[in-house]
């Protein structure tokens, strides 16, 4: 007794036994998985389903009341199961690819075509593995003898002990060839449209990692919370503030990129893939355990069948070479050299490849990291902007530089890498040209900004020395110091020279030098020169005259201002104070430590008698 259900299959109502339906559904699912990576997979499934429906129709026409298990099995047999056309598929495809390239001699390189069926991917080789199949997979991928890779890894294991880590990583990260077989479909990262708030990125991530959906959401939201909680309380150079400022755009940034890059799981096949097999530790453990079980036998077998005969052969060859050295030296030598040369060539080629990828990876990583750092730095510098830039074009240029010239390539490279890793196709040209256009725009604004800034700093003012009268210039000893607990004193972990501190509308620039020279008379003389730059000589003069810098005297101590105050209206035009202290011969000058010798003070000359 069996339950019969009606299904709507390709637009027809089919009465079918429930168990037969299960078989059919499993079959179609397996097809879906098999063709999932294929272009036009929906169409293929549709065609096959259509044909099955037709065959059902024929069966029903014969007068049976419903489709039975046997009918379904018979039809499936005639259509073929994915296992049956697994290999054939790959081969046919590669042949098609080859022939489309052009009428190459048909006898050439079919084996190469077999090996590189599909866009080439790195797999662990299930059929020729000793431990995890990593080495043979690598060898396959680079088209060299697995022995070479094994030797390299062994040297790495025992010689340096470091090859262990890459091996484990590759073991875990690289899919096994077995995973291409049916039923062990790998998971893919999709956006989940069924459970979305904005674009389904978080729910897709949750699906991928088998998490509850609120976990990724929380991760994306945390930066915003901290930012909001701290608002109104933050200090501009506070580390936490810095973090939340850079993280909340960071979260948006990551989210936006994933939104752009990840496909939405639309079809059923996508959704199946999205849920796929769980990528969790348990699974990895199972894989490794499975691999380990056969390890001993395989290693033994490998040594028996491969290494031992080879060693024996080598021994024979070696002894015979030695014995027949005189007679056969030339022929043996050439053949050995040829063989050795090929092996060596392979190794060199492999190293060259690894090296090239490594360099490329480093360059890309460096580029992204550098640009990212630059972007964060510039974003952090934004408060300083109004003290440097004029409103209007310069501002626009600055924003253009920051967003387009610095951030766009970061987004672009990250997008590219993710798309490559996720093997995304389509639209790449559009995306690339969009990024390029935006970046060119950024480059233009960067050039504009530089040109404009260059203009702002074109002229320097007329230098004129002003004497600062000292109360008692004839003292024996003079001391220079900054107010130790002055208004602008503070040490921050993040300090951008020459800016030392910000107020709402004033910035203090520590941009002064002290020069010590020999005095002509017997009294200390203090002169000050103010310099500034501007678009015109006149503007530079104005800027310089606006500098207010005070030196106050308490007995024999000269107190210097900590910095030059610049308001947002005045702008930073490299205002600079040069103090010259003439020290009479035989008298002392002490420069207090808090001025710091490292970069603020430049000593032009000092008398041998001075001591500090």
């Amino acid at each position: 007794m069996k339950k019969v259900i009606n299904i709507n299959f390709q637009g027809r109502i089919i009465p079918i036994e429930e168990s037969a339906y299960d078989i059919l559904r499993q079959y179609v699912d397996s097809l879906r998985k098999f063709f999932a990576n294929e272009e036009g997979s929906d169409e293929i499934i549709n065609d096959i389903e259509g044909r099955i429906a037709e065959l059902f129709g024929e069966t029903l026409k014969k007068g049976v009341t419903c489709i039975t298990d046997d009918d379904v099995t018979r039809i499936i047999d005639s259509m073929g199961r994915p296992e049956d056309f697994d290999d054939d598929e790959a081969r046919l495809k590669s042949q098609l690819g080859n022939e489309q390239k052009g009428p190459e001699p048909a006898t050439a390189d079919t084996s190469a075509a077999y090996a590189s069926a599909e866009p080439r991917r790195l797999y662990r080789d299930e059929n020729h593995k000793v431990l995890g199949g990593v080495c043979s997979g690598l060898a396959n991928y680079f088209g060299i003898d697995p022995v070479i890779v094994r030797v390299l890894f062994l040297v790495g294991f025992f010689g340096f002990g470091i090859a262990f880590i890459p091996y484990i990583i590759l073991w875990i990260a690289v899919p096994s060839t077995a995973s291409t077989a049916i039923g062990s479909q790998r998971k893919r990262l999709f956006r989940d449209p069924d459970d979305k708030i904005i674009a389904g990125v978080c729910s897709g991530l949750a699906q991928y990692f088998g998490l509850n959906v609120w976990i990724p959401r929380l991760f994306f939201l945390i930066p915003f919370f901290t930012f909001i909680f701290r608002i109104g309380r933050w200090n501009i150079w506070d580390f936490n503030h810095f973090l939340s400022v850079s993280f909340s755009p960071g979260a948006i940034f990551v989210y936006t990129i994933m939104w752009m890059v990840l496909p939405e799981a639309r079809s059923t096949a996508d959704k199946l893939q999205m849920k796929g097999e769980k990528v969790d530790l348990n699974n990895i453990k199972n894989t490794i355990q499975g691999d380990m079980e056969g390890f001993k036998e395989r290693a033994q077998q490998y040594f028996e069948t491969e290494v031992k005969p080879k060693a024996e052969q080598f021994g024979q060859e070696f002894s015979s070479t030695v014995r027949q050295r005189g007679r056969q030296f030339s022929t043996e030598a050439t053949s050995v050299a040829r063989r050795g040369g090929r092996g060596l060539g392979d190794i060199i080629a492999l190293f060259a490849r690894i090296f090239a990828y490594f360099i490329l990876g480093c360059v890309l990583f460096g580029l992204v990291a550098g640009l990212f750092a630059l972007g964060v730095l510039f974003t952090g510098l934004l408060p300083a902007k109004e003290f440097i830039l004029n409103n209007g074009w310069e501002n626009i240029f600055a924003w253009g530089t920051l967003l387009l010239f610095i951030w766009v390539p970061v987004v672009g490279i990250v997008t590219l890498v993710i798309r490559r890793i996720a093997r995304m196709r389509g639209n790449s040209r559009l995306i690339r040209s969009t990024f390029l256009a935006l970046w060119l725009l950024g480059l233009l604004s960067f050039i504009g900004l530089l040109a404009s800034l260059r203009n702002d700093f074109r002229y320097v003012n007329h230098h004129d020395e002003q004497n600062i009268t000292l109360a008692n210039p004839k003292v024996n000893k003079l001391e220079l110091r900054l107010p130790s607990d002055g208004r602008y004193y503070g040490s921050h972990w993040f300090k951008i020279e020459p800016f030392t501190s910000f107020d709402d509308d004033t910035v203090f620039v520590q941009n002064m030098s002290v020069r010590v020279v020999k005095a002509i008379g017997d009294s200390f003389v203090l002169t000050v020169v103010k310099t500034a730059y501007g678009r015109t000589r006149k503007e530079a003069d104005d800027q310089a005259s606006r500098i207010s810098y005070n030196v106050s005297q308490q007995d024999s101590v000269l107190l210097l201002d900590k910095g030059i105050a610049i308001t947002a209206n005045e702008k930073f035009r490299n205002q600079h104070i040069l103090l010259t202290i003439a020290v009479p011969v035989g008298k002392h000058i002490k420069i207090h430590e808090n001025i710091g010798w490292d970069h603020d003070i430049h000593v032009g000359f000092f008398d041998g008698d001075a001591d500090w």
């Binding site: 259509m79 042949q95 098609l96 048909a106």
Partner: protein, 121 residues
């Protein structure tokens, strides 16, 4: 060396060529292709044929039209495009060369078995 594997490789190599030559003769329905090939003693699974047709169609070598059928879903009939014809004649040329070469090589030894398999590097 697995003889079945080699044999199936040999067959697969010419499969596409055979399918194209059937379609070249006129509009066909996929299961007719399977039938015709079966008559010629070449066996192909329908499950292998459909993806192949889709690929050829996506490569613009084939095109199709829907034909209503009595008491079933509409059927896809495949027909060759101009591009497909050009492609086919390339294949035909290659096939003739290959056949001649294989013939010339195997005739003296009078043994046409695995030696033709080019898969030995």
């Amino acid at each position: 060396m697995d003889i079945q594997n080699t044999q199936s490789q040999m067959r697969k190599g010419v499969l596409e060529f055979c399918i194209l030559s059937i379609i070249r003769q006129g509009e066909v329905y996929p299961s007719d292709i399977v039938e015709k090939m079966k008559q010629a003693n070449l066996y192909i699974l329908e499950g292998t044929l459909y993806p192949l047709l889709t690929r050829l169609k996506n490569a613009e070598l084939l095109t199709y039209r829907w034909v209503e059928s009595s008491g079933g879903p509409p059927r896809k009939y495949f027909v060759m495009t101009e591009k497909g014809l050009a492609f086919y004649s390339e294949l035909e040329h290659t096939w003739k060369e290959l056949a001649d070469a294989v013939h010339a090589l195997t005739q003296p030894a009078d043994q046409a078995q695995q030696d033709t398999n080019p898969n030995q590097l």
